[in-house]
Assembly symmetry: C2
Homo-oligomer: 273 residues x 2
């Protein structure tokens, strides 16, 4: 079987679906349609399957934030695995666990995410420095999106601290570029910080992909995100929306509504590419 690396797979699906939209499958029981808990034996898996079916020709990637699965315990692991297995093989699977640890331990996380759970890409926290990130980057056909500028309100607590006049997040961006020996580094940058997004894209150049959460409920502007986050070709960015798509509807037609939201966001993104 011909084995594509991350970037080939990303560009192929992105062209096929004319999309750099990532749908975040961050399931929240309280926000799910109530009827599913009466009609389905596996309401969570059925919910995810419906959302996937409704968006698989619009999205380039699905992102599963592991916190939303771990909170279900053992069943959450099964749900995560079955959801990943259900995602069509040509679409990118991003497991968003923000994992980090010292080298020998980070290796276990990388093994778990890439080999057991079959992720195409993961998110990694950089605070431990190079040897905490290296075990992930050793998977040459996968992509590791390293947290650079996160989307939350307190992001600046440390990320904005000036190191010899340069803020920390820019130092992290420079390191991500240095660490890109296998051409498989990426960066997580929140859409809620468009100016920083622009600076990070200029530091990273045109070939390093960005994973961009924070449009939708978190308030990031789509136009700024696309203009500042994609490369010269309008590519190498993956723009994620979770709650704004998957929890838009509450009734039997929830997946149709999710599809409409995804389609509308995909098209809005494409308008600016």
């Amino acid at each position: 079987m011909y084995h594509k690396n991350f970037k080939q797979k990303f560009l192929d699906v992105s062209h096929k679906n004319n999309s750099i939209l990532c749908v975040g499958l961050d399931i929240d029981k309280d926000k799910m349609p109530k009827f599913l808990f009466e009609t389905s034996k596996n309401p969570f898996l059925d919910f995810n399957k419906s959302i996937i079916d409704a968006t698989k020709d619009i999205a380039c990637a699905y992102k599963l934030n592991m916190a939303f699965y771990e909170v279900f315990g053992k069943e959450g692991f099964v749900l995560l695995k079955k959801t990943v297995e259900y995602i069509p093989k040509d679409i990118i699977v991003i497991l968003d666990g923000k994992r980090n640890d010292i080298g020998n331990t980070a290796r276990k996380y990388a093994q778990s995410l890439f080999e057991i759970l079959k992720a195409d890409a993961v998110t990694v926290n950089p605070y431990l420095g190079k040897d905490g990130v290296t075990p992930f980057l050793e998977y040459k056909d996968k992509c590791s999106f390293i947290l650079c500028r996160t989307s939350n309100a307190s992001a600046g607590d440390f990320q904005d601290l000036s190191v010899s006049t340069i803020p920390l997040y820019q130092i992290v961006a420079k390191r991500i570029k240095e660490w890109n020996k296998n051409d498989n580094s990426g960066a997580v940058v929140g859409a809620t910080y468009p100016d920083e997004l622009k600076i990070i894209r200029s530091i990273l150049g045109d070939d390093i992909p960005l994973l961009i959460p924070g449009v939708g409920k978190q308030g990031g502007d789509v136009k700024d995100t696309v203009n500042n986050g994609t490369n010269v070709k309008g590519e190498m960015a993956i723009i994620n929306s979770s709650r704004g798509i998957i929890h838009a509807g509450n009734n039997e037609n929830f997946s149709e509504i999710s599809r409409k939201k995804a389609l509308s966001l995909r098209n809005e993104i494409n308008k600016y590419r």
Copy 2:
């Protein structure tokens, strides 16, 4: 039932067992006694149980690094949960997952670790700033050890960067002190950096507990660790050793050997307290 908070429980067990030693249950199949895979139906759980039985009067805490369990998939979750359940109720359970995310997601991690897996304490990565840490600190009876100075070789990549002449890890230490409104913050500081350990203890004062990995295989010096890491009473530090204890023996008597290693390290630690 009278419900103790973290510090009460920690001080009680620490006095009872005359110990600030934490045994890290980071199981590694390749390093486990081979005979267990022939004689036991649940070799991993039986291994952990034997180590716990052999050290429960010597240790004040057990630390389970989640990477070593996640790598086993669904069974790893069950193993983690059953191991936690087997640990005597008066001993501290630290789940070392170094989790981090934006607020609403961090809340799921906190719920999963404290409510479902019943940890007394967890490790948390600070890179996302205050709102990523707050959901953990809201569990007033638990303790959140925030990564401050990690034990690995690349720790300094970011942690040593100077912010207005003060290195980042010291800024993180100052924040940990500020965030300690519920008297339940802690800090992770690697024994491999004794000078930094001393500085961090002086920033944090005498009341904030430190979780200190890095003695044993990683090479941290016990005397320096105790002198620099404990408070004036020789308390408020939890010194972890994983591989050096649990994987010291390979034969039928492995748990006796683990006990000897734990006893020897506990006593060496106490010599300097």
